[in-house]
């Protein structure tokens, strides 16, 4: 028996395109990314994306255990996506891996693999842990966004950052970054991840039905959304490393 029962809102989007949470169709939820939040991980990131709270830790390249999983000519990239039992807005999630989180682990792994220079670290493993502390639609793309920042923070050689963003279909509208209600009762959800430097797609999933025209519009909108997220990723990294520089300069003034 679910403890909380959510009610479907009467209207997800008004005729003029105002969404249930007051956003315009092409507007993202507020996003904050913080780099290097975990002392003992090689690289880490904390992503606040709307109501999502996601912690990403990256370890490696390190010895691959169990040894039989190691690949001689390239690094083994492993990802674990996990939702905390207290993370959903309604019921408690049964802890541990389930069908959904196993799928998302694979999907995140596949989205990040193409940018990692795996061939440089034969016989080793790179581990990515995506822990969802609070979920509010679009956790996989938020996870990918955070994980690529954490990979950079770990000093693992990568071709560039991967950026994820969802698009959805609500009635006749194609909306950017669907929120919880739109995800639950909308007509479609399409998470996309881009390798932004070249515009290549590393993740593309979709549920719901789209006409050819709708799909084209959705993909374009996702790219526009990713562009904004990519800027935030870059800003987060620069902020952390420029801050280090600033601390040094302040110290210099004290000495003089």
């Amino acid at each position: 028996m679910p403890i909380f029962v959510e009610k479907k809102p009467d209207k997800l989007i008004s005729e003029d395109g105002t969404r249930i949470d007051g956003r315009k169709p092409d507007e993202l939820r507020p996003i904050e990314i913080e780099v290097g939040v975990l002392e003992r991980a090689d690289g880490s990131a904390y992503v606040k994306w709307g109501g999502n709270r996601i912690l990403v830790a990256v370890y490696g390249p390190r010895a691959a255990h169990p040894r039989h999983q190691a690949i001689p000519h390239e690094a083994l990239v492993r990802c674990r996506y996990d939702m905390a039992p207290f993370s959903p807005s309604t019921d408690r999630k049964k802890p541990g891996p389930d069908r959904r989180s196993i799928e998302l682990s694979t999907v995140i792994e596949e989205a990040l693999k193409p940018v990692i220079f795996k061939e440089m670290f034969g016989g080793t493993a790179i581990d990515i842990f995506v822990e969802v502390l609070r979920s509010d639609a679009g956790t996989r793309v938020a996870g990918i966004t955070g994980a690529s920042v954490a990979l950079a923070d770990a000093g693992i050689p990568i071709r560039g950052l991967v950026t994820g963003c969802s698009v959805g279909k609500v009635g006749d509208f194609i909306v950017l970054d669907p929120g919880h209600e739109e995800d639950m009762w909308g007509d479609g959800d399409m998470p996309v991840a881009f390798f932004m430097e070249t515009g290549e797609v590393t993740l593309l999933q979709a549920d719901g039905q789209y006409t050819y025209d709708e799909f084209q519009r959705a993909l374009k909108l996702a790219y526009e959304g990713c562009k904004q997220v990519y800027e935030l990723q870059k800003k987060a990294i620069i902020e952390k490393y420029e801050k280090l520089k600033l601390e040094g300069e302040i110290d210099e003034q004290e000495n003089s």
């Binding site: 670290f121 950079a152 000093g155 560039g160 430097e197 070249t198 520089k245």
Partner: protein
């Protein structure tokens, strides 16, 4: 036909992975890859442009063995022919031993990487000057990427530290600093200096700051010693 060469970054500018550093007939140095005619960074680091080579001084990253590196490791396992050393790399190093050895499990050993194929265990050797078991020393862990800064240009930084503090210091490329001293005041001072270098590795004029810090520290330590 000569290709047009364009450079988009300044020397010592902070760059991100994937960022286009330059375009045209330039050489890709360490941590830089070629994407068609574009040169892109692989890591978060500082751009470095020397003649026709663009490279990155990375700010983050672990140790990955290279042949010829002097490293410091701890013996974690042993059989009659080999010692297994934890050298803070993805795979432990193997030190083959002929005949007997006095090195036991738990000992710290300074060794050179003799051979490494990038896949299996790096093979180490202790033949060479100043290699072998480390005695009467304290070892500090630092970030491996910061080792070049601790050494300084042609050893300027480390020589300065040795001179001012007055004790022998050696480094392992895998992020280990060996300090041959038992004086707590000296050790404290050196650790403080190492942490400062780690924190501010990418700031210019660091040598002078470390010199000031150490000289001040030595003076203060002397005062403390007199009081005691």
């Amino acid at each position: 036909m000569t290709q047009e060469v364009k450079v988009f970054v300044k020397d010592r500018q902070l760059v991100l992975p994937g960022q286009v550093l330059a375009e045209g007939a330039l050489k890709a140095g360490p941590h830089v890859y070629k994407d068609g005619s574009k040169l892109r960074s692989m890591k978060i680091g500082l751009a470095s442009i020397r003649e026709n080579t663009v490279s990155i001084i990375p700010l983050r990253g672990g140790y990955f063995p290279r042949v010829g590196d002097i490293i410091v490791g701890k013996v974690i396992d042993a059989d009659s022919r080999h010692l297994l050393l934890d050298i803070k790399s993805p795979m432990p190093g193997i030190l083959p031993i002929k005949g007997g050895t006095r090195i036991k499990i738990g000992d710290t050993v300074k060794a050179r990487i003799k051979s490494f194929d990038g896949i299996s265990h790096p093979i180490l050797t202790i033949r060479g000057p100043k290699l072998g078991k480390v005695r009467n020393a304290v070892i500090f862990d630092v970030e491996p990427m910061k080792i070049p800064r601790i050494i300084g240009r042609k050893g300027s930084m480390i020589n300065m530290m040795k001179e001012i503090v007055g004790c022998e210091i050696e480094v392992g490329q895998n992020g280990k600093v060996i300090v041959y001293s038992k004086d707590p005041a000296k050790l404290r001072l050196i650790e403080e200096a190492l942490r400062k270098i780690e924190r501010e590795a990418h700031i210019s004029g660091l040598s002078d700051k470390i010199r000031n810090m150490l000289e001040k520290g030595v003076r203060n330590a002397n005062i403390r010693r007199k009081e005691a």
